[in-house]
Symmetry: C2
Subunit: 380 residues, 2 copies
Amino acid sequence: MRFLHTADWHIGKKLHGYSLLEDQLHVFDQMIQLAKQEKVDGIIIAGDLYDRSVPSVDAVERFNQMIIKLNLEEKFPVFAISGNHDSAIRLETGGPWFRQSEFHLHTRLEQAFHPVEFGEVQLFLLPYFEPSDARIYFDNKEEIRTIEQAMTVVIEEIKKQFKPEMAHVLVSHFFAAGSAKSDSETKLTVGGLDTVPLDLLEDFDYVALGHLHNKDALISDSIRYSGSPLKFSLSERKQEKGVWIVDVEEKKVDLSFHPLLPKREIKELQGTFKELTQQEFYESLDRKDFMFIQLTDRAVIPNMMYQLRKIYPNILGVERVYGRENDQKILAKEISVKQLSPLELSKQFFEEMTEEELTNQQEQWLNESLDAIQQKERGK
Amino acid sequence: MRFLHTADWHIGKKLHGYSLLEDQLHVFDQMIQLAKQEKVDGIIIAGDLYDRSVPSVDAVERFNQMIIKLNLEEKFPVFAISGNHDSAIRLETGGPWFRQSEFHLHTRLEQAFHPVEFGEVQLFLLPYFEPSDARIYFDNKEEIRTIEQAMTVVIEEIKKQFKPEMAHVLVSHFFAAGSAKSDSETKLTVGGLDTVPLDLLEDFDYVALGHLHNKDALISDSIRYSGSPLKFSLSERKQEKGVWIVDVEEKKVDLSFHPLLPKREIKELQGTFKELTQQEFYESLDRKDFMFIQLTDRAVIPNMMYQLRKIYPNILGVERVYGRENDQKILAKEISVKQLSPLELSKQFFEEMTEEELTNQQEQWLNESLDAIQQKERGK
C-alpha cells in the first residue's frame, strides 16, 4: 500500500500578517499532482488541518474546496485526524458521512481503537488528546497524569486490535522524544512531560506523525514527521518542505521525500540600504517572496520602510545587524534637547522611532497641534 | 409524497440566559417519533438550524447528534437550507458528502436552480440570500436592489427548471408579505422592502417557509411557515408550536399540524406576592417551567427576587402590574431627604432599586465606607 503522508496544513494561518491561503492552495495542487503521478492508494493527514479552533470563513471555504477535490473529485481515500490547533468537535461535523467515500476523519480518542482496514493495512487514527481524555476513557485511573502515561495505556489498547497478518500504521499528533522544535509550534511544555518515548511506537510498521513542522525533527526508518507543507515562521526558513511517499507492507517500509515548491519563498537579504535598493540588484530577485531584511549600515535612513516596501512588497521584518548610529548619539542629543523647539523635538522623535520623515501634510498637522497647545497654555 | 416540515431550530439559542439545549432535544425526539409514526418520506428544515453564525461547541455537538440520528440512523432523507442566522459557508462543510445519504443541505443561491428530484417531486432548496447575491449571480443587474426584485428573477429562473409532470416544492427562508412578526426574529426592516409578495409563489404546489416563528404568520393552503419547534421569546408564549405533515402531489396538497410539547413551558403567573408564595398555590404548578411573574401588589417587598427564585427556579422576569407604592411617595420623600443620614439615605435607595433589604453584613460594609468617606472629608 502506498500512502502520501502530510500534516500541519494550518489552513488560515498568517505569516507576519500576510494571508497564506493562496500559498496553501499552491502547494496543495502540487500534492495532488504528486499523488496522481505516484499512484498513491491513500492520503494521510496527521492533524492541524486548521490553524485555529474557530477558523475564519475564508479558511473554512478553502479547506472545504481542498478536501472535496481530494476525496470526491480525485477519489483519494483520506485518513486524517484532528491536531492540537483544531477544534475536535467542530471538525467532526460531517464525519459519519465522510466515511461513505473513504474519508476517515478521527477526532475523538476512542476512535483510535477502531482501526480502519484498508487492503492489507490496519490504520489507527489517533487524534491529538489530553491526558484527561485518557483518564476518562480508562475509567478514571488517577495514575494517568502525563501524556507519556496516557500514551502507554492508549498504545497498549491499540495493540489489542492488531491483526497479526496485517501491517499496522499509526497516525498521530504529538511531540515524540528526540524531536527538535521550531518557533511556530506553540505551547510545548519544556521538561519532557509532554513527550512520548519512541520505544512505545516500536511495534508499528509505520508511524505517520504531525505536530512538528520540520520533517527532520526525527530521523527514523519507520517513525516520521512529514513537516508542514509550507514555511510558517522565520525559524523554518531553512527547512525543506514537502511530503513523504510511503510504501507499507508488513515488516517492510519504503520512504521517499518529495519537496513542494512554495508560491512565495522566505528569503533573507543582507546588505546596505544602497545595495538593496539598487535596480541591478533587486531585478535579479523574485520580489514577490517574503523578505527578511538585514541592514548592515548604521546610519538613520529617512523613509526607510516606505522605500523598501516600494521595492519589496512582502517584507517580514528589518533588522539592523550592527545596530543604529544614533544609539551612540543619544547622550550628545540629550544635552542639546533643551535647545530644540517642540516642533524639532517631535520631528526628531518621529524619525528615530519610525526611520521615516514626516510628510508635508504630517508636519503641518503637527505644527497646528503644537500651536493649539501653546495657545491653550497661554490662556491659563 | 409525505413530508414533515419544520424550521427555525436555532440550536444554541438561550432564553433570558437559560440554555435550551435540553429543551431542543426534547422536541426533536418527539419530531422523530412523529415522523416514524406518520411514515413521512422526508424531512424539510427551512433554515436557521443554528442561532449564530459561529455556534458554540455545545451547539455544534448537539446539532451533529440530531442530524446523524435523523439521516444516518433513522434513514430519513433531509431537505434543508441555511437561514439568516446561519453562516452559509460554515454550514456547507460536509454538504457534498451528505448527499450520498439523501441529506440535501443547500447554502448557496445557485444551488436553488438544481432541484432535488425525489419521487414525483422536484424540491427547490433556496437558502437565505441577500439581493447582492442575486445581483452577482444574474450578471450584475443594477436593478436588483430589494429582496422582492431579487426573488422575482430567482423564482423566474427556478420555474425554468420545472418538469411539468412533477409536483413542485419550494423550501425557503424569508419574510413573505402578509405575515406578522414576533420579538425573536431580528433585524427585519420595516416598510416592506424586505418582504416577498405571495403572488410570486403561486406556481408551486407547496412552499415550505422558515424565518417567522409563528406557524399562523401566514394562512394559506399551499404556503406555510412551520414556526419554530420551541418558544424562543416571551412574545411567542401564546403560540402553538409544532410541525406540519404535508402530503404533496401535483396540484394537490394536504396539510395537518402536529403540536410538540416543550420540556419547560413559558407561563405567566399573576397575583400578589403572598398568593404566589403560598405552598398550596405553587405546589399545583410545574415549577420547572419558565415563569413570567406579574405582581399585583404595590408594596415594597424585601428580598423579593431571592424568595421567588427559591420557589420558581426559572424566572424570566417580574413585572409590577400596577406599579410600585413608592412611585407615589417620591415627592414626599424628596422633601424629607435632607433630614436623613447618609446611612438611611443609602439604605432607602438600595431598597427602592432592588426591592431587597440590606443584610447585616452589607449594612456593616456600608457603614464602614461612609465612615471612611467622612473621615477623608474632615481631613481636607
